[in-house]
Amino acid sequence: MTTLTIARNTFGEAIRKKILLICLLVAMAMIAFAVSFASFTMREELTIIKSFGLGVIAIAGMFMAVILGINLIPQEMERKTIYTILSKPVRRYEFLLGKFFGALATILVSLAVMTVAFMLMVFFKNHYVVDFAMLKGIVMIFFQLLLLTAVALIFSVFTTPVVNFFMTSAVYIIGSLADVTESMSHGTDKNVLVRGFYMIVHYLTPQFANFFTQNPLIHGIVIKNEAVYYSWNILYAIVYSSILLIVAILVFERRDM
C-alpha cells in the first residue's frame, strides 16, 4: 500500500515534468513528420513511416526512462524530502519500489499516447486498415524500457545523475550490440580470454537488442515461434529487472543517509 502511494505520487510528479512533456511533444511531432520524411525516399512509404514511428517511440521512451531513472533518488536527496519520507513508517525498499513503479507508470502512459498517434498515422497511410502487428513492437519497447529504468534506478542509488546518465547510456549501447558480443563470444579463431570476456558481457549485460523486432514486423515476416520468442523476452525483462531491483534495494538499505 505504501509502495502504491509513493508510486502514485512519483507518477503525479513525473507527468508534470516539463522535460518529459517536451520529449513527448517532440516525439509526437516527429511521428507526424514521418509522412513528409517518407516522401524523400524511393522505398515504400509505409515501411519508412512504420520504421521511423517505432524508432521515435523507442528513442523517446529511452530518453524518458533515463531522465526519470537517473533522478529518482538523487532528486529526493537534493530536496531532502527523502529524510521526511523515511522518518515515517516507510521502509526503504517500499520507497525504492514506489519510485520505480511510479516511473514505469509514467513511461507506460507516455508510450500509450505515442502509440495512439503512431497507430493513427499508420491507419491513415494503410488505407484505413489498423495494423495490429505494430502493437507487438510497442509491447517489446515497453519491456525494453522496463529493463532500462531498472538499470537507471540501480545506478541512481549510488551515483550522481550525470554519471548515471553516461553509465546507463553505455549499458544501453552495449546491450544493443547483442549480435557483436554474441559472435565475439564464439569461434575458435579468437583468443580464449577475448571469448571469455565477451561471453560475460553478452550473458550478464542486459540485452536490449532482444527487443528489436521492428524489422520482421514492418516487413510482415512471421518470426519463428513468435509467441515463445515474445514470452522469453518478457520473462527475461522481468527476471533481469527483479535482479537489478533486489541489488538496488540491498545497496539502498546499506546507504548512510
Binding site: 524508432g55 523507442a58 533486489i246 540491498l250
Partner: protein, 404 residues
C-alpha cells in the same frame, strides 16, 4: 531490514542470474533468425570487413535504436545520387551495406544486381563481364532473404541469365521458380520466349497455351482486367505465329547452305585491333565475340569473390552487343588502350572466339537458319558441340605480342 532478509534477497538475486543466462541462450538463436545481417553470405561479410563502409554517426544512432529501415532508405537515396553523378564505384559498398541493414529492400537487390551486371562499362559502353557472377550471387542472397518475392527470381532469370548471359536453361529455372510465388503475367510469357530460345518448340507451345489459359481465367474472374486481357491476346498471337513458323520451317533442313564463315584479326597498335569477316547470312544477324585470357574460366558461384580479379581480361560481346552483319560482311574496331584497368592483358596467351548461334538469332534470321541452325553448314567452322545445334565458330589463339 533484517540481516536474514538481506541474505535471502542476495541469494535470490544470485539464483536468478542462471535463469537470465538460460533465457538469453534460448533467445539468441531465435533473434538471429530474423535480425538484419542474418542470411548475408559469409563472402559478403568477409568482403565488408575488407572494404568497410563507414556509417555516419547519425546513421549509427538510427541503427542502434532499431531504425534500420529508415537508415537503409536514406542510404538508398544517397546511392541514387551516386547513380546520377556517375560515381559507380561507390554504389557497390552502399548496396551491400543497405541490404545488410535491411535484407528486405527488394529494389536494392534488384537495382544493385542490375548495376553490377550492366553499369560497369568501358569507354565504349561495353559492360564488364567480370561482374556477372557477383550480380547473380547478390540476387541469390536477395532470394534467400525474401523467398516469397517473385520479382527477384524473375530478375535472376530474365535480366541476368536470359538477357545478359544468354544461358536460357538457367534462365528458365529461375523464371519457373518465380511462378511459384504469383508473379506478374509477363513472367509466364517470358518463359515461353525462353523455351523458344532454347529451341524447345513443343515446350514453348505448351507454355503459350498455359499463358492463354491464365489470361482466360483472369478475364472470367474480372472482365475489366485489362492486364489479363492483354496477356491473353499477346499469348494467342504469339502462339499463332509460332505455329505458322513451325510449319514454314518444317523442311528447312532440306534448304541447307554454306554460310562460308571467314574471320580476320588485325592489330593496329598496342591494344588496338580490328576484326572483320564474311558470313552468308541476312542483314542484322549478329556475330558474338569473346576475347579472354587463354585459361579464363567463369568464376564458380560457390567460390566467387566480390573482388573482381584485377589481372583478368574478359571482353564479352554477345547477344545484342554482337557485331552486326551488313551485306554479308562484318567489321568492328576495338580500341582498348583507354581501358587498361578493365582489359589489363597480363596473360601470355589469349583466345578470341567468334561465332554465330542460331538459337539467339531473331525470328527473321531463324526463318533462314532454322531454330537450331538446321539450314547451316560450313566447310571449315561448323560447330556441333552443343547437342542439337549447328552453329559456326572460329577460335583464334593470340599471344600478348599480338595485342600489345
Amino acid at each position: 531490514m533484517k540481516l536474514s532478509t538481506r541474505i535471502t534477497l542476495a541469494v535470490l538475486a544470485v539464483l536468478l542470474i542462471p535463469v537470465v543466462v538460460g533465457l538469453q541462450t534460448r533467445i539468441d538463436p531465435m533473434r538471429k533468425e530474423f535480425q538484419p545481417g542474418h542470411g548475408v553470405s559469409s563472402v559478403v561479410v568477409k568482403d565488408m570487413k575488407n572494404n568497410p563502409v563507414v556509417l555516419p554517426s547519425q546513421f549509427v544512432a538510427g541503427t542502434l535504436i532499431g531504425m534500420q529501415e529508415v537508415v537503409a532508405g536514406l542510404l538508398w537515396v544517397r546511392t541514387d545520387e551516386f547513380f546520377h553523378s556517375g560515381n559507380y564505384e561507390a554504389i557497390v559498398p552502399m548496396v551491400r551495406m543497405i541490404t545488410w541493414l535491411d535484407p528486405h529492400q527488394i529494389d536494392v537487390y534488384s537495382v544493385g544486381a542490375w548495376h553490377l551486371d550492366y553499369n560497369f562499362v568501358d569507354s565504349s559502353q561495353r559492360a564488364d563481364h567480370r561482374y556477372f557472377i557477383p550480380a547473380v550471387k547478390f540476387l541469390e542472397e536477395g532470394v534467400k532473404n525474401n523467398p516469397d518475392i517473385p520479382d527477384l527470381y524473375f530478375d535472376l532469370g530474365f535480366v541476368h541469365y536470359f538477357l545478359k548471359a544468354q544461358d536460357f536453361k538457367t534462365a528458365n529455372y529461375w523464371m519457373e521458380k518465380s511462378t511459384e510465388h504469383n508473379p506478374a503475367l509477363y513472367a509466364y510469357r517470358e518463359i515461353a520466349h525462353d523455351y523458344e530460345k532454347q529451341g524447345d518448340i513443343d515446350a514453348c507451345i505448351a507454355q503459350w497455351q498455359k499463358c492463354i489459359e491464365i489470361g482466360r481465367k483472369g478475364m472470367e474472374e474480372n472482365p475489366n482486367d485489362s492486364l489479363a486481357k492483354n496477356h491473353y491476346q499477346v499469348s494467342k498471337r504469339n502462339l499463332d505465329e509460332l505455329l505458322v513458323r513451325r510449319v514454314q520451317r518444317a523442311d528447312i533442313g532440306k534448304r541447307m547452305k554454306s554460310v562460308d564463315f571467314q574471320v580476320e584479326f588485325h592489330k593496329d597498335g598496342p591494344r588496338v585491333f580490328e576484326v572483320d569477316g564474311k558470313i552468308n547470312l541476312p542483314d542484322s544477324s549478329r556475330i558474338n565475340l569473346t576475347l579472354t585470357d587463354d585459361n579464363y574460366k567463369e568464376p564458380d558461384l560457390k567460390t566467387f569473390s566480390w573482388q573482381v580479379p584485377p589481372d583478368v581480361t574478359a571482353l564479352w560481346e554477345t547477344g545484342i552487343h554482337g557485331i552486326s552483319i551488313q551485306k554479308g560482311k562484318f567489321h568492328r574496331k576495338y580500341d582498348l588502350s583507354k581501358d587498361i584497368k578493365q582489359y589489363p592483358f597480363k596473360s601470355g596467351k589469349y583466345t578470341l572466339t567468334m561465332w554465330f548461334n542460331p538459337l539467339t538469332a531473331t525470328p527473321d534470321i531463324q526463318d533462314v537458319t532454322g531454330w537450331h541452325g538446321e539450314a547451316i553448314t560450313d566447310p571449315r567452322y561448323l560447330d556441333t558441340s552443343t547437342p542439337g545445334v549447328r552453329m559456326v565458330k572460329k577460335v583464334i589463339h593470340l599471344t600478348q605480342k599480338d595485342i600489345l
